[in-house]
């Protein structure tokens, strides 16, 4: 098929627009030619990735395809994992097929702390945001997924894709870091589990080796007397976070914070865990003054920089505002029944 009616060389066909990331005009085009591979199993995909050096995994494509069209990256091979069955699901760990016998025994207990949600890497943001088990058990993650892009992007973009793209201003990676999620990754010869805090290595960089595919996200379910939230400051409705804050708080019987988890989007080269802010709150009753103090600590430790979304100074102030909001919203959601 010809991509261009007029030009003899389709690849030279360019369009002009004002770019979202640069001043003035940038050229955007149809991607450079590449080969699209559509494996039907994980092992086939992993083998392809090992054989084809520099191949990229195509999941939902909502970040990768624009990058290819802008020719910011031009992989010669794409491995589309969208045709591999069984990568889109959300379930409690107990229902996991491999442990049927023990699972049956465990199912008799009510949801205990330590329970986890297992989310297949090709599950779309829309599915994560709309899932009652994620909304009920992991509110920061459902809210983060619900704040990504727009309907179209959430219908197509996947949780695994967002994590592996590793944009430091993205919503889902930040929620995953706050929730101490783990990622199951499969390579051509072995599989391993990577903790969220060890996964993100820099802007668009992860600790995945070449040839490895993220297949499952495991998120601990919030225990009783817990509340969580993801709040986000963004330009317009569809942008990445100028500042985003994921929070999860567990209150003890005495009303003091038993466990506090706070992570920031847009405040460093990776999602940032605001450890010092967590320390301020842990073990103490969350008064307004204390929450403000924690927010100041979070702002102090954040690595914000000037960019198109705002100045570092502005973002630092917004970290304070949004940490306060996230903490208060989380506290408001705790049912002490």
């Amino acid at each position: 098929m010809r991509l261009s009616r007029s030009s003899s060389s389709p690849s030279k066909k360019t369009y002009l627009l004002w770019g979202p990331r640069t001043a003035g005009s940038i050229s955007i085009m149809i991607p450079r030619p590449f080969e699209l591979h559509t494996p039907t199993s994980i092992s086939e995909a992993a083998n392809l990735l090992r054989e084809l050096k520099g191949a990229k995994v195509l999941a939902g494509g909502q970040s990768l395809v624009p990058l290819m069209k802008l020719r910011l990256i031009s992989p010669a091979n794409l491995v589309d994992i969208g045709k591999i069955p069984g990568l889109s699901y959300i379930r409690r760990e107990e229902e996991d097929g491999g442990e049927k016998e023990r699972g049956a025994r465990r199912r008799r207990r009510a949801a205990a702390p330590g329970d986890r949600l297992l989310i297949g890497s090709m599950t779309t943001h829309h599915e994560v945001a709309a899932s009652p088990s994620v909304v009920g058990g992991c509110r920061p993650l459902s809210e983060a997924a619900g704040r990504i892009g727009d309907r179209q992007v959430r219908n197509r973009g996947t949780i695994g894709g967002a994590l592996c793209h590793a944009d430091p201003a993205a919503d889902v990676p930040t929620a995953a870091v706050a929730m101490d999620a783990e990622f199951r990754v499969v390579g051509s010869s072995r599989e391993r589990t990577i903790k969220a805090k060890d996964f993100f290595k820099g802007v668009n960089r992860t600790s995945l080796h070449s040839g490895e595919i993220l297949v499952e996200v495991r998120v601990p379910v919030l225990s009783p007397r817990s509340g969580g939230a993801y709040v986000k400051l963004a330009r317009g409705m569809n942008d990445l976070a100028t500042i985003g804050v994921a929070a999860a708080i567990t209150l003890g019987e005495d009303g003091a914070c038993e466990q506090v988890r706070l992570a920031l989007a847009g405040a460093g080269p990776t999602p940032v865990r605001a450890a010092r802010a967590e320390e301020v709150l842990t073990g103490r009753a969350p008064t307004d003054e204390l929450v403000a103090e924690a927010a100041d600590e979070a702002a102090g430790m954040s690595l914000v920089v000037d960019d198109i979304r705002g100045s570092a100074e502005y973002k630092r102030e917004m970290v304070k505002v949004y940490v306060r909001r996230a903490v208060k919203q989380s506290l408001g959601r705790i049912s002490l029944g």
């Binding site: 098929m1 991509l3 369009y15 979202p20 590449f34 909502q62 794409l78 589309d80 309907r151 179209q152």
Partner: protein, 213 residues
């Protein structure tokens, strides 16, 4: 760089009709629809997934057809703007956009119509906030959002199931029944502005629809 693979055959069902055509790996679905299948109702806007002009329903879900390679859509069922109307009969969403002037230049309209279609599937009676969130992936460069939102509200009313529809249509009817107050609510004034051929035609359409149902 390795040699690009030759074009592959892509089979899709678009608006209930089976099509097949050849697509290179890098051919985006929107170009496949427009140039290979000749379905030019779907528009190409920004091509980086910001504007939503290329929105189509893919297997029942709203997607941007410029963020998808045609080969990924192999075997899929697609609804484009051409599939909304049945014959000469406009879809209620199209009627509502027409009656409420939900378009100016019309470039964003195919995407807006399908975003509305998808939104009303999920939320049959959306609030203004839900409407604005629902079409946040679709940009209107004429900035005609006020009328677009109004059109989506009107479309929602048209598409209400009969019992609720009867209850709903009473509202506006009652409002217009009292024309003594010239400064009626802002929502009813635009329909007054549109009095004339458009409105009467719209009404006759409505009658036809009621006859059908």
């Amino acid at each position: 760089m390795s040699m690009p693979s030759p074009p592959k055959q892509v089979n899709v069902t678009v608006n209930g009709r089976k099509y097949s055509g050849d697509a290179e790996a890098r051919t985006l679905l929107v170009y496949f629809l427009r140039e290979e299948l000749g379905l030019v109702g779907t528009h190409v806007g920004c091509i980086v997934g910001k504007c939503g002009a290329c929105s189509v329903m893919l297997d029942g879900r709203l997607v941007k057809s410029c963020l998808l390679f045609a080969q990924q859509a192999d075997g899929a069922e697609i609804l484009t703007v051409e599939g909304l109307a049945s014959g000469q009969e406009l879809h209620p969403i199209q009627e509502a956009f027409w009656e409420q002037h939900g378009l100016q230049c019309g470039y964003c309209t195919p995407g807006m119509l399908l975003a509305t279609y998808s939104l009303l599937q999920d939320v049959p009676d959306p609030s203004e906030e839900e409407i604005r969130e629902g079409i946040s992936g679709n940009l209107c460069m004429c900035t005609g959002y006020v009328n677009i939102v109004r059109a989506i509200k009107a479309a929602a009313q048209k598409m209400m199931p009969p019992p609720q529809k009867a209850g709903r249509t009473k509202g506006p009817a009652a409002a217009t029944a009292g024309p003594t107050s010239t400064s009626s609510s802002s929502s009813s004034s635009p329909s007054a502005r549109q009095a004339g051929p458009l409105n009467s035609r719209g009404r006759s359409k409505k009658k036809q629809q009621q006859k059908r149902s």
